[in-house]
């Protein structure tokens, strides 16, 4: 397969077009290409303290490691008051590590998705209020959770069943808080709201968009507080 891919790539076809041409999927084509590119990548050569001049390559030359987009992570997004969507990508490196470390082929393990209720706690992998585990198909890459409870915080982990009872996490998602749907749910944040209003120089205690935390990081780095 790789020879055809190289031929078509040299003609300047995109991965999508190559996949169409070969009656395959973009993922498979890209995987084969990356594997090929890795073998072709120039090996680092011993140097003194001057860096190797990067060869002026054109885009059609074999890609080096950094030329491939890094796909790794699991994300969770709320799509309605009680529903979230999650998607993930487990990088090959982590699959290899798992199968090497546990000395078993990666495909021997079942892929499992866990949703944890982490309301008002700092999750450490085992202090959740409750969790639900779902076995998902090996090549599944997204999932929808419905009927979430209001005013709760959730986070997800994708991992492997190392044994029937043992779950080994590989990736952990961001946390989300489901919206309140009635006035009875109000009040649980009272303390946090109070302390945030007292000191707005550090991020609040409730879950916020990731940009909040980088905002506070740059602010404190910039020494604004001083």
């Amino acid at each position: 397969m790789i020879n055809e891919i190289i031929k078509l790539k040299r003609k300047g076809l995109s991965f999508r077009k190559i996949a169409e041409e070969l009656n395959s999927t973009v993922g498979k084509v890209q995987y084969q290409w990356n594997k090929y590119a890795k073998v072709q990548a120039p090996t680092p050569i011993k140097t003194d303290f001057t860096p190797i001049r990067k060869a002026k390559t054109t885009a059609t030359q074999p890609l080096t490691e950094q030329s491939t987009l890094r796909r790794e992570g699991i994300s969770a997004w709320l799509v309605s008051n009680n529903r979230l969507i999650t998607f993930w990508d487990i990088p090959e490196a982590k699959k290899r590590l798992i199968s090497f470390y546990f000395d078993k082929d990666y495909s021997c393990f079942l892929l499992a998705l866990r949703i944890y209720d982490v309301t008002s706690i700092i999750f450490n992998g085992s202090n959740e209020h409750s969790y639900v585990e779902t076995i998902v198909p090996e090549n599944q890459k997204h999932w929808v959770f419905k009927d979430l409870k209001p005013n709760r915080s959730y986070c997800l982990e994708i991992g492997l069943k190392i044994t029937e009872s043992k779950f080994h996490p590989i990736l952990r998602s961001n946390s989300l808080q489901t919206p309140r749907t009635s006035c009875e749910q109000v009040g649980s944040l009272e303390k946090d709201i109070h302390s945030f209003l007292e000191d707005t120089n550090s991020p609040p205690n409730w879950i916020e968009h990731v940009s909040t935390y980088s905002y506070y990081e740059t602010e404190s780095k910039g020494g604004l507080k001083a």
Partner: protein
Amino acid sequence: MINQNFQLVIHSNIPCLDFFNSRDEEKLPLFSFTEDFISLLMLLEVNHFHRVHLGIIPLYYELINHPTFKNEMHIYFQEKERTTSDTYMYWEKYNGNLSIPIRKLIECEKIELLAAPVTFVNLPFLSTSNGLEHQIKTGISIIEDFFLVKPKGFWFPNGSYTPGLDLSLMSEGIEYSFIHHQTIHYADPTPVKLGRGPVYSPHGLIMYPIEVITNAAEIKFEDGESCADTRYLCISMAESLDNQMSLLGKVSPSETLSKLNTELEKVHLCSSFLSEDLSGSFNYESSPFWSESHFIEKDLENLKEKIVTDNQLAIYREMMKEWMLLVGVLSSKTNSTLSLQDYIDRYNELRSYFIADSKLPSGFFNRPILENFLLFNIFSRPSNERQEKILMLTWEYPPNIVGGLSRHVHGLSKALSNLGYEIHIITTQVNDLPNYEEDHGVHVYRVKPLNEKDPDFLSWVGGLNLSMVEKAMELLVTHDFKMIHAHDWLVGAAGLTIKEEMNLPLLATIHATEHGRNDGIYTEMQKFIHNKERSLINGADKVIICSEFMREELMKVFRVSEDKLAMIPNGIDESENHLVSSDCFDLPIDKNRKMIFSIGRMVKEKGFDTLIQAAEKMRDLKSDVYFIVAGKGPLLEEYRRRVFETRLSEQVYFVGFVTDEQRQALLNYCHIAVFPSRYEPFGIVALESMLYSKPTIVSNVGGLKGIVQHQKTGLLMEPDCSESLVEQLSFLIHNEDVARDLGEKGKRIVERLFSWQRVAEETKRVFEETLINKSIL
């Protein structure tokens, strides 16, 4: 009843697309939208309505100013035979320059443009500050560029809000926005007016409670006091013009929304949506594109640190553009996966030019969209990097000290950094130590396993290795490492994985083995660890050990070929040697006499029998000295008996095994150290006494004679010759100044030879050797 106040937002979800590369049928919705848009402008222009707010995709404002669009819109009117319609007349009146009437309407306060993300993406779906900032700022700047006003209000596409976005908007000078009235109703604490009045978000954005209306007839009027409250309605432009008109008729004179007299309550607002469910935009077909755009967004965040040249900066700008369009098209409900893949392909193509820092070919296709788009807070940083970078993996690093490994990696990395290397260390996060620290060219990253509380140690280590690989892959995006250096099996899996993944040479230092620790392999756990050690040793390009003993062990236990091993003795850290408080140790220390100290295994080759004979002669010379000899071994009892028999019990003490603290106390207290060995391949104990500035006498054999230069850095004696030992001892006792000088010089030579600097120099040699071998293979 009728005197209730209304404010109106008109919004639209016209699809985001790259107009210039779209098929005709994809453009149609834009043309028909433009007709509706013109109708709205006409309506506002001729009637005495009060101000309305407009929340549409900012990209559209750029588009209507583009000659190509104007041209095609013209053709659209002709083809649809609308050239006699009022909208066409209006269009002609302004020569197709819709910005002119919009600007007029802004001036006479009939319309207020709300800022929005430039490609109308659902903001909660963005995962980086970089992405968020570019979406928001570019949206604002388009309005500023074309209409010369600075928008104060913001429209969240689909009303999608999540806590924290208020902060991002505040940083861009936005003052107010709109959110579903129920979200305000259920705010924490509950606002006095429930969902009927504006509030401050936690970060200080004014939020107006909005109701979705499709028809003016839907508005229910409220009784009583609340009538005085203003109500905020929003209607989609897609609704019929009649509906819009009847609503427009109800709008009351606009208060300037951001300037409220009353102090508002500050409350926590939850995530919020205007539409019922956004999961419609996710399906089996589109979800891979969502994740791809998510990874591209993160990629852009990482790559901004890697921009060195202006060429890269220019390419980065194009990459950012591709992403903004991709995520915008994805957010539009009508998306064809075909065009989505094109954005991704183009992004990846641009990316390869970016990484190689090569110029885009002259014919490289350029999208004539977002032409004035600027990058924010992104600069090229000319690199003055001269240093080679090494990635080190170790499970412990100061201040986390479990065993000797921690100090070793610390000493080595500092010294390597002094040699000009840039060292990046990934280690375990414990006790809330900083996730990242930099100390004199040594960068330390701390990670912990996801299963940080796993009671099963081996699973925990597995989790740690996963986290290390993740961090390493992240670092590899922006750093060109020359080599990975892993310390012991605990990080072996990560080291081997990165080696394979990145095609980098791997160096492993084996500090100890499971086999050695347990004198064999017995349990399942020992077997597991033993196997991990084997894979690391086999998989590494070169293995460093710290002693002859370890060399032999590895060759014996793992059958490693000798040329794969490099022996680099540990550095000696002098600071460790001054921690001694000696009085508490139960040892026969006599402060009135001079102590001569020796230590070693009680075996024949260490020559302690020579020492006993010398002690006898010293007694006969009435010399005021005594000997303490530490160490255990097969000959210990024999030596003790001989001391007793020769009536030397007051002069020679064989104290047996001593602890580290006791050894250090003895080294600290003694006047002279003696190592009368018959055979000694290395002799690290002599180094220690020299490091304590003690004049040291060693046999002229093996490794010892290489360290001690007679009468310069110590004294040499003939092995197996008690007369020779007595001669040297007497010399030191009678020449105290010389003795002190020898001690000082001895210390200096040891510091030089066995310093971390020396270890680093030897390690550097191993690095270079490994790189050469790797490039030959």
